[in-house]
């Protein structure tokens, strides 16, 4: 396709030369031509995480990072948002899901931390540009307090240093004036304010604010929201409207997302049937199987002794009618996932994994 990229470029230039200088239509046309129809250009590229191996090489751990969004990221703010000692991430994308907040789950599994705030006295107090060096067994590591670096990103005025297994570390600051000052030794997992000229680190208190647990990927509704009536196929491939309130029949409703290739989904079908049979709740299955596989799935459903209602994806889109896509992103939702609804269709609980042994 680069032949055509080159063509586009040439064409762009030709057209550009024909256009009058100052044509504000140019930008719109330029962007429009490429992207209006939904074409990608270096699209579907995931954000990257490279972990320093300490031997001069880096491991590309993007795939297991959990922060490898396929969205087109631009700005990033890396800081300890929840004050648990590790560095979390906030990413700003150009479209769709515009913002991403990623909670670091490593904690102190691979090392302790020192958090540093600075106050300069011989230059502007925020100490922008100060270089802080933490020394421990793995050698010194230097970070700069910077506001405005990367691309359109402004980091917060706090530095987080990892200590590995070191119980303590030395602290040194090169202040914006160029003066170098030692702050002696700090112990692991301390938060310290370094005031220029004080020569001694001043601890400050933790201010924990735990970030909430994640919702299942791809779920578009959260607890407290109402599940609308939506279109699905029944096992005979007829379109049906799934009405949570009607199906609940005055009882709590378990909406179970499952798939025939998902082992734990198939294993728990009898448990779900038992729940239905006990009579206190209603259970409805929503198969995520591809339309080509729905008969196979339906057969398996019966073989596992399940007889509660089960519906399938593949109902055609229609104006003014909700589809399952408005509730979940089918490609991203992990299964099994079960939404527990009130009789009035409000999500009261989200169960990730099998209902009897949730994650």
């Amino acid at each position: 396709m680069v032949a055509s990229t080159a063509e586009v470029v040439t064409e762009d230039r030709d057209l550009f030369q024909k256009q009058e200088v100052g044509s504000s239509a140019y930008t719109a046309r330029h962007n429009g031509q490429m992207f209006e129809e939904g074409l990608s250009f270096s699209g579907n590229e995931r954000d990257k995480l490279f972990m320093n191996r300490g031997d001069g090489t880096f491991a590309d751990l993007s795939n297991v990072s959990g922060a490898d969004s396929v969205n087109d990221g631009r700005a990033v703010i890396a800081t300890d948002f929840d004050d648990d000692g590790d560095v979390d991430l906030f990413v700003h994308n150009i479209q769709r899901e515009r913002h991403g907040l990623y909670r670091n789950e490593l904690g102190q599994s691979y090392g302790g931390f020192v958090k540093v705030k600075l106050r300069a006295t011989r230059s502007q107090y925020e100490a922008i540009g100060a270089q802080v060096t933490v020394g421990a067994e793995h050698g010194p590591v230097t970070q700069i307090l910077s506001r405005g670096a990367g691309f359109v990103s402004c980091q917060v005025p706090e530095l987080v240093f990892g200590l590995g297994a070191a119980p303590q570390a030395t602290l040194e600051v090169r202040w914006p004036t160029g003066e170098v000052e030692s702050f002696g030794t700090v112990t692991a997992n301390e938060r310290v304010l370094l005031v220029e000229g004080a020569g001694r680190a001043e601890p400050y208190a933790a201010l924990p604010r735990p970030l909430p647990d994640p919702l299942p990927a791809g779920l578009r509704l959260s607890v407290g929201e109402t599940v609308p009536v939506f279109a699905m196929l029944d096992p005979d491939e007829n379109e049906v409207l799934v009405d949570p309130v009607a199906l609940a029949d005055g009882k709590p409703l378990y909406l179970n997302f499952w798939g025939s290739t998902c082992v734990s989904c198939v294993v728990e079908l009898p448990d779900l049937q038992a729940l239905e049979d006990a009579g206190d709740v209603k259970v409805v299955g929503l198969s995520m199987d591809a339309p080509a596989d729905m008969h196979r799935a339906w057969e398996l459903f019966g073989k596992r002794g399940a007889s509660f209602p089960c519906y399938f994806i593949g109902a055609p889109k229609q104006e003014g009618r909700a589809s399952l896509q408005e509730i979940v992103d089918l490609e991203r939702l992990p299964i099994p996932t079960t939404l527990v609804l009130s009789p009035s269709g409000v999500i009261e609980k989200i169960i990730r994994g099998p209902v009897n042994s949730p994650h």
Partner: protein, 593 residues
Amino acid sequence: MISSSGRRLVLSALVIAGIAVYIFVSKRSQPEPTASVEEEQSSGVVVTLPTEIKIEDPEVPIELVEQVEDNTEEVANRLLDFSDKLRRRDFTSARTWFTDDFAGHGLAGLPVQDKRTDRVDSKVVSFDASAAPILSADDFTEALRDLMGPWSRVESVLWKTKGAEFQALGKKRWGKIKLFISMMGAGADDEPITISGWAYARAVKIRGEWMFDRFKLTSLSEARRSATIFSDVTAAAGVARSGIRFGQPGNNSFAWNGSAGGDVDGDGRWDLFCTGPASNVLYMASESGHFGEEAKARGVARPGGGTGALFFDFENDGDQDLFVGQVGWRESNGKLGGLNLQAYLNEGNGRFETKSDDLGFDEPGVLYSLTAFDYDNDGFIDMFGCGYGRVEVEHNNSWTQATNGSPNALYHNRGGERFEEVAESAGLLGTDWTYAAAAADVDLDGDADLYLANDYGSNRLMRNNGDGTFTDVADQYGITDKGNGMGVSFGDLDNDGGLDLYVSNMSSTAGNRILGRLEEDIDSEIFKMLKKLAAGNSIFLAGEQSFEKLPKDAGGVGASWAWSAALADYDLDGRLDVFCTNGFVTGDLPHDT
């Protein structure tokens, strides 16, 4: 009459000729070894499987680049549609991409060749591709079902065309395709799994559609970890904002992507400001770990359309003020349109007053990233704005050293009362297409120098001369990093106490794919552009008055179209790591340029 000895001679000659012909014929056709397995396919066709998968190179390959690329693009798009079927785990449909006489290496059940543990206990398993079972089309797709079926979700599947050669002669249209395959998802316990590898496939065009009749695996590996390193808490924490797709009316500028972190209300928690198309967003952190959107209530919602944003204390009155870059434009009458840089002054309580008109921002620029630093050490924080190009007026006049970028701005903070724009006298005006900057005292002489990442050209290290002027010394320091600079960050990546340099650049798969093919026969200017498109990020390690580029194979730089990098120690092991945003524009269609 031929003598008996003469007859023997003729016979011998015939035998030799026959052997030669046999050798010639067998060399040409290379029949596959005797089939050992017969299998009936779902279609009813009985297929005999070879004992070895061979995909020959086209004898007479298509040479014309445009034709090769047209064919490649067709095959690449076919494979993306196939990828989409796999992503939906629609294995039954995926089967239809293969001919009934298909034979290929299955991707499940391969013997393990090597296992290793990498950082933070991530596991990498390499499989022995040479021992992969040879399967029919039915069994090949069933093996994919075995592989991905048990996953709790499939995040993505990409079978990407990395190279292709097509046969020019003959009735049958076919080609040998080099593939990178990747399947990402989460296992039954939500543990991240990525299976990736390299393969060759033979594509044959049957009734106008590319199908596949051979698949030869050359490598396969699996990366996994017991859980992801980060959890996506966007929606749970209240910072989910969905925006319209890029390219649609209302979202067609590259500008609105900045973020700034800071403590807006002095409660010790990090709040977040983000620029947006129509209005901005201010997420205020609460003690519960949730964020509340309060841009309007706190007076920073308007105007939208900003680029880079900065928090710092402009007046030294103890609170964080906010500055937002704007991208203006030139009207057809030559006048400048758009907004000046926007200033929001903190009233001390986390509410802001808009002050832009009185502070000395008197001309709309084309400012992307902003950088705060006190360049003259006068105790008041100054601000640098990166001037990009006026794309509505003219394109970059060179792909490698464009000189028609719009000016940078250096706003000298005059005692916390106003700014004075002094880029020209400071020698920072520039003609580059500057996207990003980072300030650091690189030469350790007690004042802040400035590194500029430029699109379509060389980057610059503007050394602070200590007298209000700057001089470019990037060449001397070995950090021009000619290419398409998108971002820059400083951090000590080799634990020697010195600040190293991380530069984000852009790089594209398509650029890489065709680069080799085009070198000889295309216009050199376009070739140069393509070469830039294929470049990656750069790590420069600081030495004495110079930097040394870390070789590419050390890793850490293999992003694609990279933007902002954040250097931090994400596993707290005492070494700085790199997180880098990535990707230019993702459309609705899976197809890519």
